[in-house]
Point group: C2
Chain length 307, copies 2
C-alpha cells in the first residue's frame, strides 16, 4: 500500500519580528502571542524562487533517507506562487534534479487544503499507473504577494517548502479523505494585481462552520471517537483559528498541535511540517489532518501508522 | 469502470485571419495552409475570462446530456491561464454553477499534455474516493499572453475550453497511459512578464524525438500494432508537427486527425475537441491521444470504446 515513508521541510532563515511592528499596526503583545500566535514570520530571500525552496526541502529529505533520483516516478508541486505561470514548477524541479524522462510531473493549484488534496491525488495517480516512488512538494511563498502594509496578511504568512516521499514502504497511510468546496465565497482570499487580499473574519467563520462537522463525519464513518485520534494536525492558519476549531469540536488541547509562532502560516506547507514532527513518534498511531482556506476549499485526512 | 461518458467544447466566435497578416509577418499562403496549417485563430472577447469559457463549454455539455449539478463529486480545471493565480478556477466554477459543498475541486497546471494527465488524475482520484461523477475542464486562453507582434506564437494559438464528463457509464475508457518530462528544456516554452515565448524549433525537435518512441512503446505493451488504432489524436500543435510525427511513426494518414485550421492550437483543449468529434463514431474502437509541450512534458493515452 502506498503512503508516506518520509518527509522534510525547509524554512528560510530570515525572520521578520511582529514585536517590531507593534507600533506600525497598533497591536500589542497579547494580540501577537495569543490571537494570531505568530511572533515572527519566515521570509525567503529575494534571490530564492519557489523551485529553490523545494530543492532545499528535497536536500533535507535526502539527508534523512537514501533516494536515487532515477527512481522517482512522479513529482507533484502544490503551489499558487510558482516560479512562472508557464511552465509548471514540477518541470523545473525535474530538470534541476535530473530525474528520468519517464518521470511524470505536474502542479496542483490549491492553497491551505493543498497538501491533503495532493496526498490523495499522488497516491491514487501512483496506484493507477503502478508507480513506486513519488514526491509531493508544497511551496507557496506568500511573501511574493503580501503587501507589507496590510495588517491582515503581513503579520501572518511565512514562507516554507516541504517534500513528502510516497512509497510502498510507508510509515503513515491515508486511511480516508473528505473534501469540500464553497466556491461562492472565493473572493474572501484572492490575489489581484499581484497582491493578496484576505477577509480574515470571512475565512474564520467559514472554517468554524464547516470544518468541525466534516472532521466529526470523517471520524464517524471510520467508527472512531475523537479521543481515538492521537494528534490533530489542523491547518495552522493562526492561533485563533486552531483554538476556535479545537474548542468547537471539543478536543483535548494536548492533542492539538500548534507550531507556527516562530515562522508563520505557511499555507499548504503547514500540515506536512507537523507530520515531520510526529513521523518518528511511535506514540502517534492515528492522526487527523485538516486543511482549509483558498477557494474556499477544505480537505481532511485520517493518517494511520503502519505497524 | 470510470471513463468518458460525454464531452463538449466551446470555441469563441471571433476569428483573426492569418491571411490578413501575410504582409506583417512576411509569410505566404503555402506557409499558412501547409506549414502551420492555421488559417485563422479563435480569440475570446476581452470580457470573457477562463471560467466564463469553461461555463460556456459546460452549457454545451448540458445540451447533450442531462446532468444534475448536485451530482457532481469533483471538478478539475487544467489551465496555466486561470482567472486569478489565487484562487483556483475550479472553485470559481463551483460557486457560479452552484455545486454541492461535498464537491472536491482543484486545478492542474500543465500545458498541451494537460488533458491526458488530467484524465488519469481525475479517474484515479475518483476511484480512490468512490466518486461517481466528475468534470474535467481544459481552458488555456493564450490570447491573454501572446504578443501580437510575435510571429512564432500569434499565428498559431487559439482560445477554447472543453469539458469531459467522467462517470461509471463510459463511452471510452482509458486503458493505459504513459507520461514523461524533459524539465531541462523548460525554457523552450515559457511565460515571463506576462508574455509567452516559444522556441518552436526546440519544441518540434523534442516532440519528434520523444513522442514516436513512447507511442510505439504504449502500443507494444498493450500488444497492439499501429494499424489496430482507428484514430490518432495527436496534439494539434501545428500541421507541421502533426505531419512530422505521423510520418516518423509511419501512420496511415487517414487515421490521423487534423482539425485546427479554422481555430488554432488550443493547448490542452486540442485533444478533447478531437474526442468530441469521434465519440459518436462507432467505427472508432481504439484511439490514441498524445499530448506534448510546456514543461517540456508529454503524455499518451490509449482510449477504448466500451461495447
Amino acid at each position: 500500500m502506498l503512503g508516506i515513508e518520509e518527509t522534510a521541510y525547509y524554512i528560510p532563515e530570515k525572520r521578520v519580528s511582529n514585536f517590531n511592528r507593534k507600533e506600525k499596526f497598533g497591536i500589542g503583545d497579547e494580540f501577537i502571542r495569543n490571537k494570531i500566535g505568530v511572533e515572527e514570520i519566515a521570509v525567503k530571500s529575494d534571490l530564492e524562487n519557489t523551485s529553490d525552496m523545494c530543492i532545499a526541502a528535497y536536500k533535507k529529505l535526502k539527508e534523512k533517507i537514501e533516494i536515487n533520483n532515477q527512481d522517482i516516478d512522479v513529482v507533484i508541486v502544490v503551489t499558487q506562487n510558482p516560479d512562472y505561470s508557464i511552465p509548471q514548477t514540477s518541470a523545473i524541479l525535474h530538470g534541476v534534479l535530473g530525474f528520468k524522462d519517464e518521470c511524470a510531473s505536474f502542479d496542483i493549484s490549491l492553497g491551505c487544503s493543498g497538501f491533503v488534496y495532493g496526498l490523495s491525488v499522488i497516491t491514487s495517480f501512483m496506484k493507477a499507473n503502478k508507480f513506486k516512488k513519488g514526491l509531493l512538494f508544497t511551496a507557496d511563498p506568500y511573501s511574493k504577494i503580501v503587501d507589507p502594509a496590510d495588517k491582515n496578511t503581513s503579520l501572518l504568512f511565512g514562507d516554507a517548502a516541504t517534500v513528502t516521499l510516497i512509497t510502498e514502504n510507508p510509515v503513515f497511510i491515508a486511511q480516508d479523505f473528505v473534501f469540500g468546496t464553497n466556491g461562492a465565497c472565493y473572493k474572501d482570499l484572492i490575489c489581484e494585481n499581484n497582491t493578496l487580499y484576505m477577509n480574515g473574519r470571512g475565512i474564520a467563520n467559514f472554517a468554524i462552520k464547516i470544518v468541525p462537522k466534516d472532521i466529526l463525519a470523517l471520524l464517524e464513518r471510520n467508527n472512531l471517537e475523537k479521543e481515538d485520534i492521537d494528534k490533530y494536525l489542523i491547518h495552522q492558519g493562526s492561533k485563533f483559528i486552531v483554538d476556535s476549531l479545537s474548542k468547537k469540536i471539543g478536543l483535548d488541547e494536548s492533542k492539538v498541535m500548534y507550531d507556527i509562532s516562530l515562522y508563520g502560516n505557511t499555507v499548504s506547507s503547514s500540515i506536512p511540517i507537523l507530520i515531520e514532527k510526529i513521523i518518528k513518534d511511535e506514540s502517534v498511531d492515528l492522526a487527523l489532518g485538516s486543511g482549509f482556506g483558498v477557494g474556499l476549499s477544505w480537505a481532511n485526512v485520517l493518517l494511520k501508522r503502519v505497524r
